[in-house]
């Protein structure tokens, strides 16, 4: 599988699509910072609790899902997958390589989010001195686990709905999940335990909790729930991919 990971990593990170997505993502965060009214930034607010990081965090799953779907989708449309299979690579290895490379893309996008947010904060004078380092690090780690889990779901979509269809499906999944949790959030109180538990599985429901200056409630449970969804998606993806008839 290492051969595949190496080949896929080089192809993905050299692809114009990914570079363009990263640039666009960073550009949007900076642009958003420029148009934020200084009145919107409350006193004592720092970069990780500001509207800049919040908006960036909301955009991150969308950019990640579109980027991954386009890059993995190219394997199906170009026939790249045939070149892998006809030289004897196992389907599990191909899927595993996609998953690991997609994780790398997600991490790279998260780094872009953090760097762009900090850069914007410095450029536009948003405070960085009041950062609660412990809370920020824990929140970022839990958020990363949830994003990796989300990535595993997107890779599952890439194999279920091959080609560009997966882009549309991933986009719809991301947006509807976000809307559903926003609406549910208004219906259920945040101290409703069932609602809070369901929220732990979805990054779209978690984003608002991370844009605070304090450690979120039981972060280990959120990481466990979010991670378990990713594991479930990976198992489902491998089982489905192993049985799938390819062209």
């Amino acid at each position: 599988m290492t051969k595949l990971i190496r080949a896929d990593m080089i192809r993905m990170f050299r692809s114009k699509t990914l570079r363009l997505m990263m640039l666009l993502f960073a550009g949007l965060i900076v642009l958003e910072s420029a148009i934020v009214n200084t009145d919107d930034i409350e006193e004592g607010e720092q970069v990780f609790s500001s509207v800049i990081f919040g908006m960036g965090s909301m955009l991150l799953p969308m950019f990640v899902s579109i980027g991954i779907c386009l890059i993995i989708g190219a394997e199906f449309t170009s026939g790249g997958i045939r070149n892998k299979m006809s030289v004897g690579h196992k389907r599990e290895s191909i899927y595993g390589s996609w998953l690991i490379c997609s994780f790398a893309i997600t991490l790279a996008m998260t780094v872009v989010l953090v760097i762009a947010s900090f850069a914007s904060a410095l450029i536009f004078g948003i405070g960085v001195s009041d950062i609660n380092v412990k809370a920020t690090v824990i929140n970022l780690l839990v958020m990363t686990v949830c994003h990796l889990s989300f990535t595993a779901v997107i890779v599952l979509f890439c194999t279920l709905f091959t080609g560009v269809k997966s882009v549309a499906v991933a986009f719809i999944y991301n947006e509807t999940t976000m809307i559903i949790f926003s609406l549910l959030g208004e219906t259920f109180k945040e101290n409703d335990e069932v609602y809070k538990f369901v929220c732990r599985f979805f990054i779209q429901a978690q984003i608002k909790f991370y844009t605070t200056a304090e450690i979120t409630d039981t972060p280990w449970l959120t990481a466990l729930c979010g991670g378990s969804l990713g594991v479930l998606a990976t198992v489902a993806g491998i089982v489905s991919f192993k049985r799938k008839d390819l062209k």
Binding site: K3, L4, R6, A7, I10, R11, S15, K16, A74, S78, G79, G80, I81, R82, N83, K84, M85, S86, V87, G88, H89, K90, R243, D245, L246, K247
Partner: protein, 308 residues
């Protein structure tokens, strides 16, 4: 005879459509195996099964002695290079980058062979031109170059000349012949362009409705398609004596089919023939002339009805 690929009653069912129906075929080592059939006959389906892209509903195949149901099949696939339907290339990459990517997939650490491969397929001067700007023939040749990255012993080409211009067809044909003759690569080439296939193939498999209807060598096919006169006589031995003694046909120019029929490939003068047979006391019952082309032979096998 040593076989690279042997299939045993392969079946593939897509919902209500049976793409392969107990298909059994054998590809001899070192041959160029022409896989002939109409569109939708099951050619591409079989190639997909061999490459591991799809799974057989029933039956199995052996690739270099490894059964498709065993774990060793992936090792055997390392000896295979394939171009299935359209060439598998990344359009935003150059020819060189596409080959380097394939070398990484195979796990070859150096790219020394990239230049040789590009020269072999005539793409050495494409430089930074992206594959998306290549002509169809260039893409086809790049697809073949990618399939050759792992130094395969067995090359599978699915309709490699489809859509090519005459020059492109000649280039691909010469490349296939070169690979077979110089590198001793066994080639399985599927096509419905019979005329072109007849310039390449050493063996043929005719497929119709998912079943191999005839498998034969090029010599056998040539014999079947040669212009000849079939004589129905009372005694073939007497007829042979008449042909040889009168000098109408040498031993190489006739073939005894059964006790009463004999194919004569020389163009006999019928009056002379009748006299010679009469002299031997052999009765001539019927004379039938055959002039079958490869297309004619194919139609006679699969029938001339419209496509399903």
């Amino acid at each position: 005879m040593e076989y690279v690929l042997k299939t045993n009653g392969l079946c593939k069912q897509y919902k209500n459509f049976k793409a392969l129906n107990r298909l059994t075929m054998n590809v001899p080592k070192g041959s160029i195996y022409g896989f002939v059939g109409r569109n939708g006959a099951g050619k591409t389906t079989l190639i997909r099964l061999i490459c591991g892209l799809q799974f057989a509903t029933e039956g199995s195949f052996e690739l270099y002695g490894a059964n498709s149901t065993s774990g060793k099949i992936n090792d055997s696939r390392r000896k295979v290079g394939a171009v299935v339907e359209t060439p598998s290339i990344f359009p935003d990459m150059t020819a060189e980058d596409n080959l380097k990517h394939q070398f990484r997939i195979i796990g070859v650490p150096s790219f020394e062979k990239v230049k040789d491969l590009l020269e072999l397929v005539g793409l050495a001067d494409t430089g930074k031109k992206k594959a998306k700007d290549f002509s169809l023939g260039m893409r086809q040749r790049l697809g073949i170059a990618i399939a050759l990255c792992g130094d395969p012993d067995f090359l599978i080409l699915d309709e490699p000349i489809n859509g090519l211009d005459p020059q492109g067809i000649i280039e691909v044909r010469e490349l296939i012949l070169k690979l077979n003759r110089e590198k001793n690569i066994t080639v399985l080439i599927s096509s419905h362009i019979l005329d072109e296939l007849s310039k390449l193939a050493t063996h043929y498999g005719f497929i119709d409705k998912g079943t191999i209807v005839k498998e034969l060598s090029a010599e056998e096919l040539n014999d079947a398609c040669r212009k000849c006169v079939t004589l129905t006589v009372s005694d073939t031995q007497k007829a042979v004596n008449a042909l040889e003694d009168s000098g109408i046909a040498s031993k190489a120019e006739y073939k005894i089919l059964d006790g009463n029929r004999i194919d004569v490939y020389a163009q006999p003068n019928i009056t002379q023939l009748v006299h010679a047979l009469d002299k031997q006391g052999c009765e001539l019952v019927t004379v039938k002339e055959h002039d079958e082309t490869l297309e004619g032979f194919f139609i006679s096998l699969v029938g001339g009805d419209s496509h399903d």
